[in-house]
């Protein structure tokens, strides 16, 4: 365990958090972008330092580990390891990360005013996308946020000591790179490129995960250390080809290998610092890293050799060939990167010591020169407004320092001495000629390597000769970049030069040797001497340079001859086809998902029915038809009730008027209540009656709010819909009914005749809870928590209706004021006092509410011993209130019942329920356990049968909550419509007139019947005045 391994990750996370803070808050506005770059570069700098601090141990050959249990039940650990290979990559990630942060600060900073004029003219004539310059100095804090997140993922990836840990970070790099490529989110190309990169690397990631899971299940561990030890077992497994195929798919797509390489040039819409970082030095090498890491476990087979060598070889050639004909500097660099990645993958395919020496040298060399060149390209773009080779030229006079950096880096890219890139190419060519490789490779590989080398050299030549040297273009007005901006690429360029020129740096050679050894699986000797005498690699190198030089000289004539093979040689058509297929599928799905909920329902019922029939194993036993059940004398009544239940439900279908259909529904429901009495289940019967009544009230309230014209139109459609659809619905209904019949029969015929649980409740209801009512005891005590949730749902329904109708709907701009005028027959239910309510009814209503309160109190106090409970009590109270709405109208009821605050009732009820249950928990140690507070506190004056117990308090709580919820429903639905407000006012006036005896009841009723209400009212109102 070495906690120091966490430092690099931790500082990057902190840096990302800080950058996130800058992005999200006004804090970022106070810090100029340049300073932000410097400030946040501290994070990678510390990471770099921490890694350097650990390097002596690694160079001495140790492997450092750190891990912590992650998902213990799966045996997963979050673990890190640091060996030579990890260290090489981690140093690149943090080191180049540092440079990129500083550079990005200047890249995104607004330019000085004096530069603006010249830059403006340059941009106006360019046809490439100009570099974004946001008006606000802080808008680009987002870039730092993304790139630090990416840095964290990338560091985690190369430091992971476990395949699952690695995979999580792997996906992290895919996601963060998506954000970075799509950074200019207003640019469609950027979005497309980002999506394409995510699609390909993310898709590869899925394959990778599967491959890693295979690997770790065969190796018996997800840790790299264990997997690497199990190499023989893995290679011997019959799943080896699958495993290798899946992992290679993940790694090769990530590292932009042909034919999936096309995402990388497409991702060049990323800002220059991101491209320099992700697409040269770090992310695209993640696949290379993984393959190098797993080589000792999965390599050394023919399959490994052919898969990687061929993929790498083809990629190398495609990248070199296609890159040469690019005009966009970044696209050119992208293709040369593709080519170089091909080289790296090809090298991992060779199981020779020298190949791994070449691998590590090439990784380092490429990271150094390519990041430098990407950063330089960013400067060119930034200062001239274009990166098109046809428009650039001769800018070395204006930007000598940048030009010098570019030339050094390009020389390294070309593989010319004395640059580090020369060494990389030499070792590559040495690999190609190595005697250990299969015979055919002896010819093909060197030839391919020479051809690719020549073209890459020519690409480097294009950059130098066509962009920086050559004839200056009059329309360009380039400026030298700020010092730190060109120093950032200068550092890797100078290192490339220094490694070549200086005497062999011992530490670096050791690091590379350790990295190569970790990947090769055996010690590798690495020397960094450029000059190794005249040998075959040197000869091949000379040939490549000669051909390359010739190509450069003849470039203007040769480049048009290069046909654009990028489309033909890649999977891009497949990708485009896949996207089109997805669009087609989406089209198809939206045909099915057409928004007609009825269709969804029909499909659900049909599928449920089919599933029950096919896999439900329905086997209805034959049940005796003649068995009448207990109390045979009631059988006739039961038959009758069942008949009424069915016929009333059928009537609700056939009755034309909605109001009658609703009454039929209520009749069916109330018959069920009577059936419950016969069961005998008095508690349910009671609840069913009150709920059925409340449902009826709510239904009628809603019905009055839907204009009759709408309802009639809908009804017409119901029965005048096309005959086939009617038949279809009937068939679905009959089919569902038949399946239901089979289910019920099966259930009834096969159920055990002895209850497993009921005897417990029967025996314990009285002793444990003091309740005679066993059902009540179950609801209130045994399953008290259930009931708590139930009343919360009920109250939430009330609140939801209130929110929906009184708040959300209005906010959405819904208005019901264009609804056709009043359906007078419904008027009494509308919560608007009807002028025809007689004083007798008013007096009755005044009596009813206190009576319901009394009834509710009885239910609360005696519910434990008698039918009824808090819920019934609550609904009864709310029905009393509903009566008042009908009789006195909405406003009047609100005025008279000011104490009835539904939300407060809900809150009080829930608090009381939880409070009493908590008190019980304190006393008894168990939530919702029964406690008799009356006995506990010695309160002796309670009437017989009444207990001050948790049960009673809970009943009261339920009553309060349900009253609140139900009244809230009635309140909301009974609230006068906007369009009714005027009518209601007039109605109120008529009521006043009536009270004064100026209008008789008959006159009002008659006028309403005649439909001349307004006229009569108008006349009478005049009379009143």
């Amino acid at each position: 365990m070495n906690d120091a391994l966490l430092i690099p990750l931790a500082v990057c996370v902190l840096g990302a958090a800080l950058a996130g803070l800058f992005t999200a808050t006004s804090l970022g506005q106070r810090i100029p972008t340049r300073n932000m770059g410097w400030l946040l570069a501290v994070a990678p700098a510390i990471a770099f330092g921490a890694l350097i601090a650990q390097s002596p141990a690694v160079l001495a050959g140790q492997t450092l580990n750190w891990s912590i249990s992650w998902i213990a039940s799966l045996g997963l650990r979050f673990s890190l390891l640091l060996d030579g290979l990890s260290l090489l990559f981690a140093l690149l990630v943090s080191g180049i990360g540092m440079l990129v942060m500083v550079y990005a600060g200047y890249y995104f900073a607004p330019k000085h005013a004096d530069e603006k004029s010249s830059v403006g003219s340059g941009e106006s004539e360019s046809n490439t996308a100009p570099t974004p310059h946001s008006p606000l100095p802080n808008a680009d804090a987002r870039f730092f946020f993304y790139i630090l997140l990416f840095m964290t993922s990338m560091l985690g990836l190369v430091l992971a000591g476990d395949v699952i840990t690695l995979f999580v970070f792997w996906e992290g790099t895919s996601i963060t790179s998506f954000l970075l490529v799509a950074y200019k989110s207003k640019d469609e190309d950027a979005r497309k490129g980002a999506f394409r990169a995510l699609f390909i690397t993310g898709g590869g990631g899925i394959a990778l995960l599967a491959g890693l899971v295979f690997t770790s299940s065969i190796a018996g561990s997800t840790g790299f250390a264990d997997i690497l030890r199990q190499g023989d077992a893995l290679r011997a497994s019959e799943l080896y080809p699958v495993m290798l195929g899946l992992i290679a798919l993940g790694a090769l797509t990530k590292s932009a290998q042909a034919p999936a390489h096309f995402w990388l040039p497409g991702a060049m819409s990323a800002p220059a610092p991101a491209s320099a970082y992700l697409h040269s030095a770090t992310m695209v090498k993640a696949g290379v890293y993984l393959l190098a890491r797993l080589h000792p476990a999965l390599g050394l087979t023919d399959l490994w050799f052919w898969v990687l060598s061929l993929a790498g070889l083809v990629t190398m050639l495609i990248g070199a060939y296609v890159g040469f004909k690019q005009n966009d500097l970044k696209a050119l660099l992208a293709y040369s990167t593709v080519s170089q990645l091909g080289v790296l993958v090809m090298l991992i395919g060779q199981d020779t010591e020298i190949a791994f020496k070449a691998l590590v040298i090439s990784i380092l060399a490429h990271a150094l020169y390519k990041s430098a060149l990407f950063l330089v390209t960013g400067i060119v773009d930034h200062e001239t407004g274009t990166r098109d080779l046809r428009q650039l030229g001769g800018i070395w006079r204006a930007m000598p320092a940048t030009c010098a950096v570019a030339i050094v880096a390009a020389l390294s890219m070309a593989g010319l001495p004395p640059l580090f890139g020369f060494l990389a190419k030499e070792t590559l060519l040495a690999t190609a000629t190595h005697p250990n490789v299969p015979a055919i490779v002896d010819v093909v590989f060197p030839a391919a390597a020479v051809a690719a080398g020549a073209l890459i050299l020519a690409q480097a030549g294009l950059i130098v000769f066509d962009a920086f040297l050559g004839r200056p273009k009059a329309e360009l007005h380039p400026h030298e970049a700020p010092l730190p901006m060109w120093v950032a690429p200068a550092i890797p360029a100078v290192i490339s030069l220094a490694i070549g020129l200086l005497p062999e740096p011992e530490a670096l050679a050791t690091l590379l040797a350790r990295a190569a050894a970790a990947s090769y699986g055996a010690p590798v000797k690495v020397s960094l001497a450029l000059w190794t005498g005249i040998n075959i690699p040197l000869v091949l190198s000379a040939i490549a340079v000669t051909i390359g030089a010739a190509i450069i000289t003849l470039r203007s004539r040769l480049r048009p001859l290069f046909t654009n093979l990028s489309g033909a040689l890649s999977l891009e058509p497949l990708y485009t086809g896949a996207l089109a297929a997805i669009d087609g599928l989406a089209w198809l799905v939206t045909r099915v998902q057409n928004g007609k909920l009825r269709l969804y329902l029909a499909i659900m019922f049909i599928s449920a029915g089919v599933m029950m029939v096919t896999i439900g194993r329905l086997s209805p036993p034959s049940l005796p038809m003649t068995e009448l059940g207990p109390r045979p004398e009631l059988a006739a009544l039961r038959f009758f009730l069942l008949l009424v239940i069915g016929v009333a439900a059928l009537a609700s279908v056939l009755l034309r008027r909605d109001l009658f259909a609703i009454f039929a529904l209520a009749a069916s429901g109330l018959s069920i209540a009577v059936l419950m009495i016969l069961e005998p289940a008095p508690d349910i019967a009671l609840v069913q009656v009150v709920v059925e009544t409340l449902t009826l009230v709510v239904l009628v309230l809603v019905l009055t709010r839907v204009p009759r014209e709408q309802r009639e139109r809908a009804f017409e459609f119901t029965f005048r819909q096309t005959r086939p659809s009617l038949i279809r619905d009937v068939l679905i209904a009959l089919g569902s009914g038949a399946v239901m019949f089979a289910i019920v029969l099966t259930a009834l015929g096969t159920r055990p005749r002895e209850s497993q649980m009921t005897p417990f409740y029967e025996q314990n209801a009285k002793p444990l809870t003091g309740a005679n009512d066993i059902v009540g005891a179950i609801v209130i005590d045994f399953r008290g928590f259930d009931t708590l949730v139930e009343i919360i749902v009920f109250a939430a329904a009330g609140l939801a209706i209130y929110t929906l109708l009184r708040y959300a709907s209005r906010k959405a701009g819904d208005r019901d004021d264009d609804a056709p005028v009043l359906d007078k027959s419904m008027l009494p239910f509308r919560g608007v006092a009807s002028p025809i309510t007689s004083p007798f009814v008013q007096a009755l209503a005044l009596l009813i509410l206190p009576f319901t309160l009394l009834l509710a109190a009885t239910h609360v106090l005696y519910g434990h011993d008698q039918p009824g409970d808090g819920f019934t009590a609550g609904v009864i109270v709310s029905l009393g209130v509903a009566t008042w709405y009908v009789v006195f109208g909405y406003a009047e009821t609100k005025r008279r019942l000011a104490w009835l605050q539904p939300s407060a009732f809900i809150g009080a009820g829930l608090l009381l329920a939880i409070g009493s249950a908590t008190a019980a928990a304190i006393i008894n140690g168990s939530f919702f356990s029964p406690v008799d507070f009356g006995k506990l506190l010695g309160i002796g004056f309670l009437p017989r049968g009444v207990y001050l117990s948790t049960a009673t308090l809970y009943e009261l709580a339920i009553c309060l909550t349900v009253t609140g919820g139900a009244v809230l429903m009635l309140d909301t639905l009974g609230h006068p419509k906007d369009s009714d407000a005027e009518t209601a006012r007039q109605m109120d006036e008529i009521a006043v007139l009536r009270q004064r005896g100026e209008v008789t009841l008959d006159e009002v009723a008659e006028s309403e019947v005649r439909g001349q209400k307004s006229e009569v009212r108008g006349e009478r109102l005049e009379v009143g005045d």
Partner: protein, 110 residues
């Protein structure tokens, strides 16, 4: 008795399904209520045994099965709450789209 009860339950269910499939949203709502009635009856029928007296500790004789009754109580309350929400949504649809025909309600965008 069991067979008749099963017949009633399935008839209720079929009628409810038919109502649910109507274009008329009010009828669909009625269908929902009928289906929940059918399910409640099914729960009741699924009790282990029939009783002769109500499930009260102080009653002598074969008591009815208390457990399904407790479950039905909860089910009734919950379906009542859900039903009320459905109805209020029906009202909002009627106000917003000026229709109670489910096929005319399309593109629930705002």
């Amino acid at each position: 008795m069991d067979v008749l009860l099963a017949l009633t339950i399935s008839a209720l269910f079929a009628i409810g399904v038919f109502q649910l499939l109507r274009r008329n949203l009010i009828r669909s709502a009625i269908g929902m209520a009928i289906v929940s009635n059918a399910i409640n009856l099914f729960l009741l029928a699924a009790g282990a045994y029939y009783g002769e007296v109500a499930a009260y500790a102080n009653e002598a004789g074969q008591r009815s099965d208390a457990l399904p009754q407790a479950l039905i109580l909860t089910a009734i309350v919950i379906s009542m709450g859900g039903f009320a929400v459905v109805l209020s949504m029906l009202y909002v649809l009627s106000v917003r789209y000026k229709t109670s025909d489910s096929d005319e309600v399309k593109g629930l965008t705002h």
